[in-house]
Symmetry: C2
Subunit: 215 residues, 2 copies
């Protein structure tokens, strides 16, 4: 598990990776790697089909034909990132599993070049990229549900605890603080958010329907 | 307190409002209202200085001279939104105060036209708007700290509970779910996030330095 491939965030792995398939698969991988590198270097506004083709060493008509535009390219980057075999930590403790997950998100959101923030920012520009981004997050959160299932099986959580809202609560402060509020990297943030959510979950905060307001 | 002016989010009030000051203040208000209306109608990509000037009934050279570009205009919209007298709910209960706050954020993030999401999206485009957005959030969170101080004074929270991380934890799931994950409006979300955070806070999750990992 590397910090770059992990978590509900969409970080695709940099550098070498297996290149299954034939020439088409190789070309796709080259182009998507080039798109990521260009995005990291220049952001969405500096991302062009021409520069991606040049960096990938592929003719630009190939890139236009297969991906049509920058939104299509980024959507495929995100879809490709979802085909890895990433899984969440398994430490034997809910708080530690969530902390490990959050540390991966923290690293991805603060890495240089800021590829993951650029992909998320791109999803505010391209509806196609936004859909792919949400598919990827949905898949990542689905993979993380086992963290909650294991805690339930250990008897560490009240019966009926729902995985998805728990996982969103645990990870949301990372995205909010690092991406929206723009605060500096915070070495306490991953554990603090994990611990708060584990404490809330143990107290029954995520067990199905909420009680009505009691005031 | 209205749902549009409230919360850590930057929603500026729509419709009539006091117009203190002379002609300069009136012109500013007209232009900023027009910028918001154009942003809500067309998004950042459709926002032009010309359209804002035309909608405001102000000569476009006035708009260019004072705000220079769309980023400058949106930064001023956000700065102006921070000059209201908004304050957080005061219900006598931490969970209910946070729920009220979150309901305002929920309403702002799901309102039509989507002015607040468009302002946040614009902050990914314009560094000047991003800085203004963060100033506004910082001011809103600072105003909300009284919610935690009151809970401490009532003896409802452990001594040493820190306000800011508690407030970020309470509100982050709203932004994450509605803005980034793009889920549908969720009538349970405001209270669920408030309740989880109040339970975690009561259990000591936000009391200063976190303990080291114990695994």
């Amino acid at each position: 598990m590397t910090s770059e491939t992990a978590g509900p965030q969409p970080a695709p792995p940099p550098g070498p990776r297996p290149r299954p398939g034939g020439r088409t698969a190789r070309t796709r991988r080259q182009v998507l790697d080039a798109a990521l590198a260009e995005l990291g270097a220049h952001g969405y506004d500096g991302l062009t089909m021409e520069a991606v083709a040049a960096r990938a060493g592929v003719h630009r008509t190939t890139v236009y034909r297969r991906w049509r535009d920058v939104g299509g390219l980024l959507a495929d980057v995100l879809d490709a990132a979802g085909t890895d075999d990433w899984g969440p930590p398994d430490t034997g403790s809910l708080e530690d599993d969530l902390t490990g997950l959050n540390e991966e998100i923290h690293d991805a959101l603060t890495a240089r070049p800021p590829v993951v923030p650029a992909l998320i920012a791109a999803s505010f520009r391209s509806p196609q990229a936004a859909e792919a981004q949400r598919r990827l997050w949905d898949d990542r959160y689905a993979r993380c549900e086992v963290v909650v299932e294991r805690a339930l099986a250990r008897g560490d959580l009240p019966a009926g605890t729902e995985a998805r809202p728990l996982l969103v609560a645990a990870t949301a402060p990372l995205y909010h603080q690092l991406l929206l509020l723009g605060t500096a990297p915070d070495p306490q943030l991953a554990r603090r958010a994990a611990r708060a959510t584990a404490l809330a979950a143990a107290a029954g905060a995520f067990t199905g329907r909420q009680p009505a307001a009691d005031t």
